[in-house]
């Protein structure tokens, strides 16, 4: 993967904090001059990754290369990169000039040179004339400009930015985004930018790295990530989307929402389970129901500034989100049309839960951190088994005590007519659930599985 033009390469980087895996085998190559964004929800490991690159966290497993040289053991003050912190982290006892000159003074540059470079940076961030000001008297936006100037004045090879705009108000944030983009273009140095704001990532980046639970889910250009998300999480995280369970009938034909559609994807095999993503702006609304591929009744219609956002119920019981420049009356029947290239089909790795377990006696199995009753198997105690449970046969109980195992709702996704939920048990096992009940992220639930819903097989010897 080591390209000649790569400036930062990360190889098999992992990090454990206590019992949680903050980074899980990260591999990433960043090209010289690129604007790369690490994007993900809070706790996904993006800041941890950035802090590893900066040198604030010791590399324990894996390594980080800069221009081909291993910098894993190099302390932060000897790395040729600089950081812009989320809360600016300006030195409160120094004025604007001395804050920006801090790094240059440490390098013992001649006074004249320092003066020249500070002036130049102040000009670039539109802060000329603020040299003598106390940094505590500046507004948030001005402080962030000083922080950017303080980092860039050292002419780093890579600039790291840790959610630098998160503390600013919306308008200021938009202005600063444009300025950052211009600074990047002008200087041509590599920017590594951390954010949880998908819109910011789409606006600024050459490359977006989507992260979740310490892993990289997808790396690609903003257009790739938006149009061809690799899985339901990426699709849901970036922009608005309709996500449905689907069946790939054959090459270029997919079925979802009770209808068959033409698409452009191939190579899934026949009658293969899949998921589809359709962006709400890619669904065409036709006033004549008969003209569309499928029909629905408008349930709500809200004006969103540029477009209207409508929720449409189909007769088959699915919900469709549509963004259109035209408003359609609530209660009216409409036709809907989706072009083949606007249907993004995604692989699903499995269609039911597969748990590894061990028999306690012939009708009890120990799996995902609890002992479940199961059908009579005739297996002996200690027999290793594989247990299959369909997603919709896992019951989540409001009352934690009613379940066999206690778990936490980790991720949930509306799939048009049901919720796809990912739960994490106390012991770190995961399970997927399909349900019509409404839950919130981080709800505590009890997991119950009826014996009749399990399929138990002897595990393979080498498992």
């Amino acid at each position: 993967m080591a390209g000649k033009d790569a400036i930062i390469e990360i190889e098999h980087l992992s990090k454990v904090f206590g019992t949680t895996l903050a980074l899980n085998d990260i591999n990433l190559s960043i090209k010289k001059g690129e604007f790369v964004t690490l994007l993900g929800p809070s706790g996904c490991g993006k800041t941890t990754l950035l802090r590893h690159i900066a040198g604030f966290i010791k590399v324990e497993e894996g390594r980080i290369l800069m221009e081909g040289k291993d910098i894993s053991e190099v302390p932060p003050f000897r790395r040729e990169l600089n950081t812009v912190f989320q809360r600016y982290a300006l030195f409160p006892q120094l004025d604007v000039y001395d804050n920006i000159a801090f790094g240059l003074k440490l390098k013992k540059l001649p006074e004249k040179e320092i003066n020249k470079r500070v002036k130049k940076m102040l000009k670039m961030v539109s802060m000329t004339g603020y040299e003598g000001r106390d940094v505590n008297s500046l507004s948030g936006g001005q402080q962030q400009r000083v922080a950017i100037a303080r980092a860039l004045v050292n002419y780093p090879k890579v600039l790291l930015l840790d959610e630098p705009l998160a503390a600013l108000d919306l308008k200021m944030r938009k202005d600063m985004q444009i300025e950052l983009k211009e600074i990047h273009k002008k200087l041509g140095i590599t920017f590594i930018y951390v954010t949880h704001d998908q819109e910011e990532a789409l606006t600024l980046s050459d490359t977006i790295v989507v992260m979740k639970d310490g892993r990289i889910l997808q790396t690609g250009s903003p257009i790739d990530i938006y149009n061809e998300p690799k899985n339901a999480f990426v699709a849901d995280f970036i922009g608005d989307s309709n996500i449905y369970d689907a069946v790939m009938i054959e090459d270029r034909r997919v079925s979802f929402c009770g209808h068959e559609f033409e698409c452009v994807d191939e190579g899934f095999g026949n009658n293969a389970p899949a998921e589809v993503v359709i962006r709400p702006e890619d669904i065409y609304v036709l006033p004549n129901p008969a003209a569309g591929q499928f029909t629905g009744v408008v349930r709500s219609c809200t004006f969103k500034g540029v477009h209207y956002e409508m929720f449409v119920d189909t007769p088959e019981g699915y919900e469709v989100m549509i963004q259109d420049y035209n408003a359609f009356e609530v209660g009216s029947e409409i036709g809907m049309l989706i072009k083949p290239q606007d249907i993004q089909v995604m692989h699903v790795s499995r269609v039911e839960n597969i748990f590894k377990g061990e028999m306690v006696d012939s009708n009890h199995v120990d799996m995902i951190g609890g002992v479940f009753e199961c059908p009579q198997t005739g297996f002996e105690r200690g027999q290793k088994v594989t247990v299959r449970v369909p997603y919709d046969k896992v019951d989540l109980m409001d009352n934690v005590e009613d379940g066999t195992v206690c778990a936490n709702i980790d991720f949930l996704l509306y799939k048009g007519n049901h919720y796809a939920i990912h739960v994490l048990t106390e012991d770190g096992y995961s399970a997927r659930v399909s349900t019509n009940d409404v839950w919130d992220k981080n709800d505590m639930v009890g997991i119950k599985i009826l014996p009749g819903d399990m399929t138990i097989e002897k595990a393979e010897e080498n498992d």
């Binding site: 900066a54 040198g55 932060p76 003050f77 950081t83 300006l90 030195f91």
Partner: protein, 273 residues
């Protein structure tokens, strides 16, 4: 009526608090051997205090008190600051445990601290004198420095230290150029607190000064009073100390007023810009 009662209450309190001090100050301006006898206005006690008309051991005691307080305050400010930075970087139970251990000496009655230090010095065979008093004072002052520096550290933006490293400062440079200037106010108040605690101390000093004739002001006055009444020259000395402290307090208050005013001006400017 209500207002009158409230006013009277304040005045009563002030009188109870300050009467002893005022009485000493007033009677420092007369020559009578015994407090309470007014034998006419005179500044003789002041001149005999400074011309050495009295026992020169009082002067020695004063010098001892101040030099011990200065050394103890300086050393405990350094130790306490380093300890506070260390504690600040600890997490979880370790931090709680050390904070708890730090708090015990402050709650401990002086007499217990004094006796335990006395036993310690005897056990390790250290001759008791100036050095042991200084060590004892450092040991009870340091926790107070830790306590006054900690809040400054917690207020500090945690990224500031990292920002310094990021810009090329070694950890020592970062400490000197960024952390110390930021926590200086806490260090100064820790120093002042240690200085006054050290001057004020009697119990611990009594147990650690040994029998080589070392006296600080507090032990000197104690011994003097037991020998047959207070030496009259102590009255002007007390008066001078009280007014010095008063003067210091006024200076500190004026300074903080000025700093506040400056800050307000700056904020005012910010609004205008």
């Amino acid at each position: 009526m209500k207002k009158f009662l409230a006013q009277a209450y304040i005045w009563l309190l002030l009188i109870i608090l300050y009467a002893p001090i005022v009485i000493i100050a007033v009677f420092s301006f007369t020559e009578a051997k015994v407090m309470g006898n007014w034998t006419g206005f005179s500044t003789n006690l002041y001149s005999s205090l400074f011309t050495g008309g009295i026992n020169s051991s009082l002067i020695t005691a004063i010098i001892n008190t101040i030099s011990i307080a200065l050394i103890a305050a300086m050393v405990s400010t350094a130790l306490g600051t380093v300890a506070a930075i260390g504690i600040h970087n600890l997490r979880g139970w370790r931090r709680q445990a050390i904070t708890f251990v730090n708090n015990i000496p402050m709650m401990n009655p002086d007499i217990i601290t004094g006796i335990s230090l006395f036993i310690l010095f005897v056990t390790i065979g250290l001759t008791q004198g100036y050095l042991t008093v200084v060590l004892a004072h450092i040991s009870f002052c340091t926790p107070y420095v830790v306590l006054s520096v900690m809040p400054r550290l917690t207020q500090m933006n945690p990224n500031v230290y990292e920002a310094a490293l990021d810009l090329g400062a070694t950890p020592m440079q970062a400490l000197r150029k960024v952390i110390i200037p930021d926590i200086k106010p806490g260090m100064i108040s820790g120093f002042i607190l240690s200085f006054t605690l050290s001057i004020d101390d009697f119990a611990v000093t009594l147990f650690t000064k040994g029998n080589q004739g070392l006296e600080t002001l507090s032990t000197y006055i104690y011994a003097d009073a037991r020998k047959g009444g207070l030496t009259p020259e102590l009255r002007p000395l007390m008066t001078i100390i009280i007014f010095t402290v008063l003067l210091l307090l006024i200076i500190i208050n004026i300074r903080s007023l000025k700093i506040n005013k400056k800050l307000n001006e700056k904020n005012g400017k910010k609004v205008l810009v």
